[in-house]
Amino acid sequence: MATVRMSFTPDPAYVRTVRMVAAAVARRAGVADELLDEVRLAIGEACTRAVAVHRRHELTDPIAVAMSDGGRFTVRVTDRGPAEAAGREPGQETADILAQVAAETGRPGVDEEVLTFGVGLALLTGLVSDLHVVAAADGIGTEVRMSWPIGRRSGH
């Protein structure tokens, strides 16, 4: 099993770097080409979410990204924030937030940051069928774990 680990300063500038590396590792692991856009987007969303958590709590600790290809291509993005999202189904609040946006007619409504957070989770849940948001292994922070099938030939 091959692994690639990275950690990055919680700065938006590095999210694109992680997306690019993740897509390259996914391709190398044998994830089907037609899934790579989704992999890139989902990993970007998980990192964006982690950066937002760190910024909200003024944490400068790095965000950890670990990728491995044992059986499936598995990615773990771990923040160091209070475990607010752990154990909660990512889709729960998102549907409410989006319903509010849809019903809006120009009133201020939901805060843009809250909205973006909700949209990010909606994307994650919509893109990744194997998604788990759990407390980090060492008890500090939240881990977003995603996996995709490996095997280029499966879709052809």
């Binding site: 970007g44 964006t48 849809a102 990010g120």
Partner: protein, 121 residues
């Protein structure tokens, strides 16, 4: 790739043509430009996503924000998005119900068909 932004006027619409990647790093630049456009009195804005290679939740949040600001001023925000790759992002989040999304600038500025209207036809 950096975000590129260019405006041009088409009849009574101001078209903002975006190129590159819209993500958590570049979205603030887009937000700033859209706010400038609204503050300078533009009412009918068309955002052309035709040359956008990547769009994430931060970008979607900025577009929703612009949509609200324009609606509050009796204006409109129309999107142009010919790529299935990006349309999927709108569909997954349900935001295809919030925006009018057109296949071309021409259709966006003349009130022509949207993807939704086509799909229903």
């Amino acid at each position: 790739m950096e975000l590129s932004l260019a405006t041009r006027s088409v009849s009574d619409h101001m078209v903002l043509e975006i190129g590159g990647e819209i993500d958590v790093y570049t979205a603030p630049k887009l937000r700033e430009r859209l706010i400038e456009m609204v503050n300078s009195g533009e009412k009918h804005v068309v955002v052309d996503l035709g040359r956008v290679e990547f769009l994430d939740s931060t970008g979607l949040g900025v577009l929703v924000g612009a949509h609200r600001r324009l609606r509050a001023r009796d204006g409109s925000l129309n999107l142009v998005c010919p790529h299935e790759r990006l349309l999927k992002v709108f569909r997954i989040t349900g935001l295809d119900n919030v925006f009018d999304i057109h296949p071309s600038v021409e259709e966006a500025t003349t009130g022509g068909s949207t993807h939704a209207a086509r799909a229903g036809a």
